[in-house]
Amino acid sequence: AQSVTQLDSQVPVFEEAPVELRCNYSSSVSVYLFWYVQYPNQGLQLLLKYLSGSTLVKGINGFEAEFNKSQTSFHLRKPSVHISDTAEYFCAVSTNNNDMRFGAGTRLTVKP
């Protein structure tokens, strides 16, 4: 079965700084990749997804991610973060069997 590793459990950054949240996956078959965000006491919300085509995917709130098949990565980036981006971010992978697997999450804390 496929799996996801989020390399950083916590990422602290200052407001207006760039940020990258790292995600690596493992699968023997073709994958679909997702990033979800979870604000405190709320459900998960989709940021962006890669299904096929262009490897650079743009999502909501100024986030983007790049699918790198050779490195089996799907890192999330934002050029300038805001206080309101403070949240938990989850990378997820699914296959044609529709069996989604989530990473353990990265807590992004944006400081003023």
Binding site: Q6, Q45, K49, A92, A104
Partner: protein
């Protein structure tokens, strides 16, 4: 468009008691998922329904967990009897088409369960 509804939002029970959670997906969504999210971990899929049929329940602890979606709309997840390690947030999600590969899942706010 109304989102995925879940109730209750919070539940505290003692071990060996029973508990049930309810989920109402987005109208028209054929696929419904239940996830367990233990503190500090990502969500883990427990069961997936397509309409009223089970697609995947490979990670559901069937000795104590059960779920149903009798009319293909809302769903209940039950734990009987509960153990301390069942303390978690139980998330319900739904997606819109009958072949949801790669389809966006919409999540409810979750039910936070504490087993004492």
């Amino acid at each position: 468009e109304a989102g995925v509804a879940q109730s209750p939002r919070y539940k505290i029970i003692e071990k060996r008691q029973s508990v049930a959670f309810w989920c109402n997906p987005i109208s028209g969504h054929a696929t419904l998922y239940w996830y367990q999210q233990i503190l500090g971990q990502g969500p883990k899929l427990l069961i997936q329904f397509q309409n009223n049929g089970v697609v995947d329940d490979s990670q559901l602890p069937k000795d104590r967990f059960s779920a149903e979606r009798l009319k293909g709309v809302d769903s209940t997840l039950k734990i009987q009897p509960a153990k301390l390690e069942d303390s978690a947030v139980y998330l319900c999600a739904s997606s819109s088409i009958n072949d949801p590969r790669g389809e966006t899942q919409y999540f409810g706010p979750g039910t936070r369960l504490l087993v004492l």
